[in-house]
């Protein structure tokens, strides 16, 4: 069995995945998830290490490692790097076959990716220079309201009259929330408003790519059921979420690793590119 790894060093959380391939097919062997924290390099090492341990595989036996995510150039042990855009598309194509659109919401950014029939990226858009309307926005809102991250989604689903959130600034949303609280608005309505505001913002970004079914959501925010539902409402379409949503980038990276191992295509551009921009 050939074993390959993908490590997705996100701004908030670092994800690692091992996959194995033999004659019968490809399967995910193990995953690990840790907070990225202050030391990006260490986080990547730790995630990779945990992942190997979980699968009972020695690091030396992992044939190839592709790093992705914003900290990809900090991975000391990775063989090459790819952007998370390619990786999310690839992962979604593998785990949710038929995916044509990926909506990825992570800690600090949101993207939409148009995916072709073979998992290739046709088109993509990302938010810019501003963390407005990202996972962090939600995390902050949760913190202000004193609600756990796991609970905000379910809470938001109970909203009957969602409030209007004027600011999109991840930091300033706090004062909006506080002022709604002081007006006696219900927590679920506030949270409903927050989710709706982000869903609208995200969709107005995502509409720049051709949104075609199947739409798959990836990234940590996909764990938030409230956000998924809000996006579905705004989009008017079903959105697919797998339990591995947050690992999608890492899965994609691992698949690229596997390809490298198999050398199924000539793809020297990666290595060359990796060298020219890494340090």
């Amino acid at each position: 069995m050939r074993i390959a790894a993908g490590v997705d060093v996100g701004s908030t959380q670092t994800k690692a995945v091992l996959i194995g391939a033999n004659g019968d097919g490809v399967e995910v062997l193990s995953r690990s998830l840790i907070d990225t924290g202050a030391n990006v390099r260490k986080a990547a090492e730790k995630a990779f290490d945990e992942c190997c341990q979980a699968a009972g595989v020695a690091q030396a036996d992992v044939g190839f490692v592709v790093g992705t995510g914003y900290g990809r150039y900090n991975i000391s042990f990775g063989h090459t790097q790819m952007t998370e855009i390619s990786c999310h598309a690839r992962g979604a194509h593998f785990l949710c076959p038929g995916t044509r659109t990926v909506i990825d919401m992570g800690g600090q950014d949101a993207k939409a990716i148009g995916v072709g029939p073979s998992g290739e990226v046709l088109d993509f858009v990302m938010n810019d220079k501003c963390a407005a309307g990202t996972g962090r926005f939600l995390a902050n809102a949760a913190e202000v309201m004193g609600i756990g991250l796991d609970d905000i989604g379910p809470l938001s689903l109970r909203a009957t009259r969602p409030v209007k959130i004027a600011t999109v600034c991840t930091v300033f949303v706090e004062s909006d929330i506080l002022s709604y609280l002081s007006q006696g608005k219900k927590p679920e309505d506030i949270m409903g408003g927050v989710h709706l505001a982000i869903a609208k913002r995200t969709m107005s970004l995502a509409r720049r790519v051709n949104i075609e079914p199947l739409v798959t959501m990836t990234g940590g925010v996909a764990r938030n059921i409230g956000m998924v539902r809000a996006l579905e409402t705004v989009l008017g379409q079903k959105i697919i979420v797998t339990p591995d949503a947050q690992f999608m980038g890492a899965v994609g990276a691992a698949l690229f690793s596997l390809e490298k191992l198999g050398e199924s295509f000539e793809s020297s551009v990666w290595r060359e590119h990796a060298v020219s921009s890494g340090d």
Partner: protein, 384 residues
């Protein structure tokens, strides 16, 4: 008085109605007749009227429409009237119109014209080049440009525009403009009889109904208002400058007044006061229209007359209305207004006049920050 309030409420409703029920009604009453919407600031409504069509102002959706599609066409750093107008197009809100007219006010508006043209190829969408200079050759050119529009309108309506009909339209709009001027005079004289936000609604709503109806409404208002109960209040007299195209939320105009400002002059709804004098009724009314634009129209950040700087126009306004301060009310990302602010500010500083710069967007849900700024401004003038 009850009558006035009732009319007022329906005007307010009409001007905020994104379904353009009034336009649909008019079209039902005039089977086969067309309606042409025009983007701010100025459009030769007389031509549209003379063609037997209903001219309607197209200026965004305020806070009444969420932007869900337009962001994908117009990105960051573009003013909101562009985006909400695009959103209206993309959500079927422009259905009542048979044509759209844009003009050379700014680069964003111009590009909007062509973007809409691409997306709605069956609609008549035109771009009017209003000259940026004031020589006789500009009159010559604009006359030709208007004739080009006339041909388009005739093609749409299937009938020629007769000079007599155009003269009649011009005469009607002359009346409308003179009534609007009277309303402004009344307000400048006795701001307590008519608040700025009220006069704004009275005037602006005229963009969504036949001019004949609007004239009646203005006449009634002018009859009633002098007898309206009201008493002088302690407020500073201000001129508002900069909101000539995208319009501030009504709430914001009220906020300014509540914070202690009497708005005695403004450039809101400026298109309805575009000409400084009545337009002459001549044998060649198209030419008269062009001549009036070039030589007899108000200063504005989107009209360039190099024989008289715009800042002198502002200074005159201030002097004529005995204003004590200027509030620059500028739509976020409105480049013409931003640029003019620099030269206006220079002039106003030279005049020793206090001024305040406020930026707004169509969509504002919380006004706290703006309120604080306006109140501070007023406090800085009234506290000793």
């Amino acid at each position: 008085m009850k009558q006035f309030e009732r009319t007022f409420d329906s005007l307010l409703e009409g001007m905020q109605d994104l379904s353009f029920a009034g336009v649909w009604r008019w079209k039902e009453q005039h089977p086969g007749a067309k309606s042409v919407a025009f983007f701010p600031v100025y459009a030769p409504v007389e031509l549209v009227h003379a063609a037997g069509m209903l001219p309607v102002l197209l200026s965004g959706a305020g806070d009444r429409l969420d932007i869900q599609h337009a962001d994908s066409r117009f990105g960051s750093f573009i003013c909101s009237v562009i985006k909400t107008t695009m959103e209206m197009a993309m959500t079927g809100h422009l259905e009542p119109f048979d044509g759209l007219l844009f003009s050379s006010i700014c680069d964003s508006a111009r590009n909007l014209c062509f973007v809409i043209k691409r997306n709605y190829p069956r609609m008549y969408v035109d771009f009017l080049h209003l000259p940026h200079s004031t020589s006789d050759s500009s009159v010559e050119f604009l006359t030709e440009e208007y004739r080009r529009i006339v041909v388009e309108l005739e093609r749409m309506s299937g009938a020629p525009i007769q000079p007599a009909a155009l003269r009649r339209s011009i005469a009607l709009y002359n009346i409308q403009r003179s009534l609007v001027r009277q309303l402004y005079d009344l307000r400048a004289e006795s701001p307590y009889l008519l608040r700025a936000w009220e006069s704004y609604v009275l005037i602006r709503s005229g963009n969504f109904m036949p001019v004949e109806e609007h004239i009646e409404i203005l006449k009634q208002a002018l009859d009633y208002l002098p007898s309206r109960p009201g008493k002088k209040r302690d407020a500073i007299r201000v001129v508002i400058e900069g909101a000539f195209c995208e319009q501030p939320p009504l709430e914001l105009i009220r906020l300014l007044e509540n914070a202690g400002c009497d708005i005695v002059e403004d450039d809101l709804a400026i298109a309805q006061r575009w000409f400084t004098e009545d337009m002459p009724l001549t044998d060649d009314p198209v030419r008269a229209l062009a001549e009036s634009y070039v030589h007899r129209s108000v200063y504005s950040s989107v009209r360039h007359d190099f024989s008289k700087p715009r800042w002198e126009g502002l200074a005159e306004k201030v002097r004529d209305t005995r204003a004590e301060a200027v509030i620059f009310l500028i739509a976020k990302f409105c480049e013409p207004a931003y640029f003019d602010f620099v030269l206006f500010k220079k002039k106003v500083d030279e005049m020793g006049l206090p001024h305040l710069l406020l930026e707004f967007e169509e969509k504002l849900f919380t006004f706290d920050r703006l309120r604080t700024e306006v109140e501070t401004f007023v406090e800085s003038l009234v506290f000793d």
